[in-house]
Structure formats: structure tokens, C-alpha cells
Amino acid sequence: MSGSFSLSVFGLAGAGLVAIGLFGLIVQGAAFRKILAFNLLGGGIFLLMGVIARRGAAAGFGGDPVPQALVITGIVVAFSATALAVALLLRLQDAGEQNSAAVDDRDRAARQGDA
């Protein structure tokens, strides 16, 4: 680690990741792509916390352990939320297919009734 240059580089990468994720979250229409973009945004914020932790290196540790532990907690919580969001999305899709199938059946029955 060559001091402040590397910290600046990773800080800028974290800020860039937040911006890319935010853009995807706003612009992309598909819910699945929004979930991915939200994870990019979160990854960028974690990286910013990593830079802050690294700046706090003291007492023989490579970084401040408190933000590092917070990020570990954050990664696990982000995974839980992502898994739930994906499960909801898939369930919504199944329900949509069933509904459209039901509508098709009703239309077919109506046509047969007409004939």
C-alpha cells in the first residue's frame, strides 16, 4: 500500500461504483436489473467504508476493525435482502403466468360458448 495515492484511487472507485449503481437503479426498467444495480450501489458504499477503515490504521492493526466488522454485517444483510427480493420477483412472475393462463382459458371458453 503506497499510502494516500492508493486510498484516493479506491475512494474514487467506491464513489464511481455508487454512481454506476444509482444510474442503473433509476434508468433500468426491469426489476431484476434494479436489484443488481442496487447491489453495485451497496458495494460502492462498503468500499468507501473500507477506505475510511484503512485510514484509521493504528495500534498495529492494518485498519480500524469497527468499520470492517460493520461491512461484514452489511454484506450478510445485503445478501438476505437480495435473496428475498429475487424470491418475490420470481413469485410475482409465476403469479403473472398463472393469471394470463387463466385469462386465456376464460377467453377460449367464451369463444366456445359463442360458437
Binding site: M1, G11, A13, I26, F32, L36, A53, P65, V71
Partner: protein, 311 residues
């Protein structure tokens, strides 16, 4: 030299992030996302946070990636590039995001000197915990309440996902995650890798007291081994109504909560550890946590139970 390496990692990171953003189909975006998880893990190593790097590679990239790959395979292809926003909205959003980038960059480049840090305090109290890894000390001693609530979040997410099942398949088994005809290479891998993986997981859990590792990293590796066996079709996914399975899920949160309550009796505070005997208690909590985290991560990937209706 190391500066060039870090600049390379940062450039790769942003490049892969754009790849995720611009990929045409969902599967392409997910593959980019998994690659991004590994690049971010490299960045964490360079930031001297090996504990976080292990967690990011295992959970942020690996297990999240598996959830995403399974979802992408079931979603229609047009989910990919379909954009509802028109050109004008795109430009406004891009402008907003550039502003956010500039603002965050200004903040991160202008952080105060000297940097505020809790590292000296973490170091000062480390001998009393019997631990050598300050991150484990923060997770299980100084901020144990965060970790307890985090495990509860995992549990709540699992219950929420289970509740998405149809009434008929409640208490049933999730659909098998793998292909109907697994390739021989996959079956071979699923037979050879798990013994090594389980050993690595136990090492990560045990070594986590003194060097990078711990319950979350070990649990994620265990979960990956279980999922590999399920992917190869070597055994069927468990029924979620199974009593043993539910006991495994509850072991971590319940042991942690019980130790927390006992803290009132032995140390006068919730989650207080007995003087001098902190380390054995912490190891016991971590062992229960590792098992529960492994089972819950795998079940979160498997998704809600499905009846005969779904393949």
C-alpha cells in the same frame, strides 16, 4: 509498483461494473456481477481487510451470484435491455449520478487528518476477550448486539421466503437446484471437493479467533459445499418442515440469545461474558452460529418450497 496495482484493480472494478450495467441479457449481467465480487474482494485485500475480502468473495460474489444465476435462468431474456426511461430521463439521471460521484469524491479526498479511529481502544481491550483477531472481537464482543440482530435478519428473510410458497407445498422441499442430467464433471467435483471444503470451513471458523476468518466465512464455505452436493443431484433438498433442519436453523440465534440473557446473571449486562472465561463462551456461540449461518444461506439460495406444479 503497488500504486499501479491498486490503480489497475480500481480500473478493472469500474470496467466490470459498466459491464454489469450495459449487459444485454440478465445472465450476462449476473456473470459480470460475480466477476465484480471477486475484483472487489481483491480491493479489500489491498485495503488490509482480509476478513471482509473473504466475506465478499464467499457471500457478496459467490452465494449472491448463485441466487442471481438461478433467477436469470428463469426470467425471460427481454428482462435484460428493456428500459422504460426515455432519452431525456437518461440524461437527467446521468447528470445526477455525476453530481453524486463528484460529491462523494470530494468527501473521500478531503477526509479529516488525523483520521478518527477506534483501533487503539479495540486493541486495549483485546487481552480481556482472549481473542487475537480484532474484527472477531468487534463482531462477537464489542458489538455483539449487531451480530445477534444480523442473524435474526437472516432468519426473518428465510421465513419471508418460505412464506412465498403455495399452501399445498408448505412444509415441502424446495425444487432441486441442479440440472436434470448433471454432467459427470459436476458429479465428480461434488464428490471430491466437499471433504476439503468442510475442512477449510472448520479451519476458517477455528482460526477466526486469532487470524482472519470466523463464523460468517466458515458458514458460507459450508453452505457452498452443501449446495454443490445438491446441484450435482447427489441428494435431494430437505423438506422445510423437517424438525432437525429447523433445529439447525434456530441453533445459532437461540444459543446467542441464551448467552445474552445469561450475561445478566454472570456479568450484569445483556451479552456480557463471564470474566476470564470469555473465550470458551465465544467459541461455543461461534460454533452454533457457523452451523446456522451455513444452513440458512443454503436455504435462502434454494428458495421457497414448491409442489409438483413447478419443475
Amino acid at each position: 509498483m503497488s500504486g499501479a496495482l491498486d490503480a489497475g484493480i480500481a480500473a478493472l472494478l469500474l470496467g466490470v461494473a459498466f459491464r454489469v450495467l450495459l449487459a444485454r441479457d440478465p445472465l450476462g449481467a449476473v456473470i459480470g456481477f460475480v466477476a465484480l465480487g471477486l475484483v472487489i474482494a481483491l480491493a479489500w485485500v489491498r485495503l488490509a481487510a482480509v476478513d471482509v475480502a473473504l466475506t465478499e468473495a464467499a457471500i457478496g460474489g459467490g452465494v449472491t451470484g448463485l441466487v442471481m444465476v438461478r433467477a436469470a435462468a428463469r426470467l425471460p431474456k427481454r428482462e435484460g435491455a428493456r428500459q422504460t426511461a426515455d432519452r431525456g430521463t437518461n440524461w437527467i439521471a446521468a447528470g445526477l449520478c455525476v453530481l453524486v460521484f463528484i460529491g462523494l469524491s470530494a468527501v473521500v479526498l478531503g477526509l479529516p487528518e488525523p483520521a478518527p479511529t477506534l483501533a487503539p481502544e479495540a486493541a486495549a481491550h483485546l487481552p480481556g476477550t482472549g481473542l487475537g483477531n480484532p474484527v472477531t472481537a468487534v463482531l462477537l464482543v464489542y458489538r455483539a448486539l449487531d451480530t445477534l440482530l444480523e442473524v435474526v435478519v437472516l432468519l426473518l428473510a428465510l421465513i419471508a421466503i418460505w412464506s412465498l410458497s403455495a399452501d399445498a407445498s408448505w412444509r415441502g422441499a424446495p425444487p432441486p437446484p441442479g440440472p436434470r442430467q448433471p454432467t459427470e464433471a459436476l458429479v465428480f467435483l461434488a464428490r471430491v471437493l466437499p471433504p476439503v471444503g468442510v475442512l477449510v470451513a472448520i479451519y476458517l471458523f477455528w482460526a477466526g479467533a486469532d487470524v482472519p476468518g470466523g463464523a460468517f466465512q466458515g458458514g458460507a464455505v459450508l453452505a457452498a459445499m452443501g449446495l454443490l452436493v445438491l446441484l450435482a443431484g447427489l441428494c435431494a433438498p430437505p423438506r422445510i418442515g423437517d424438525r432437525g433442519l429447523r433445529l439447525l436453523v434456530l441453533a445459532g440465534p437461540v444459543v446467542f440469545l441464551a448467552v445474552g440473557m445469561l450475561g445478566w446473571a454472570v456479568a450484569g449486562a445483556f451479552l456480557g461474558y463471564p470474566e476470564g472465561a470469555a473465550k470458551p463462551v465465544i467459541i461455543a456461540v461461534e460454533a452454533a452460529l457457523t452451523l446456522s449461518i451455513a444452513v440458512m444461506l443454503a436455504l435462502l439460495v434454494l428458495g421457497p418450497p414448491a409442489g409438483a406444479r413447478q419443475p
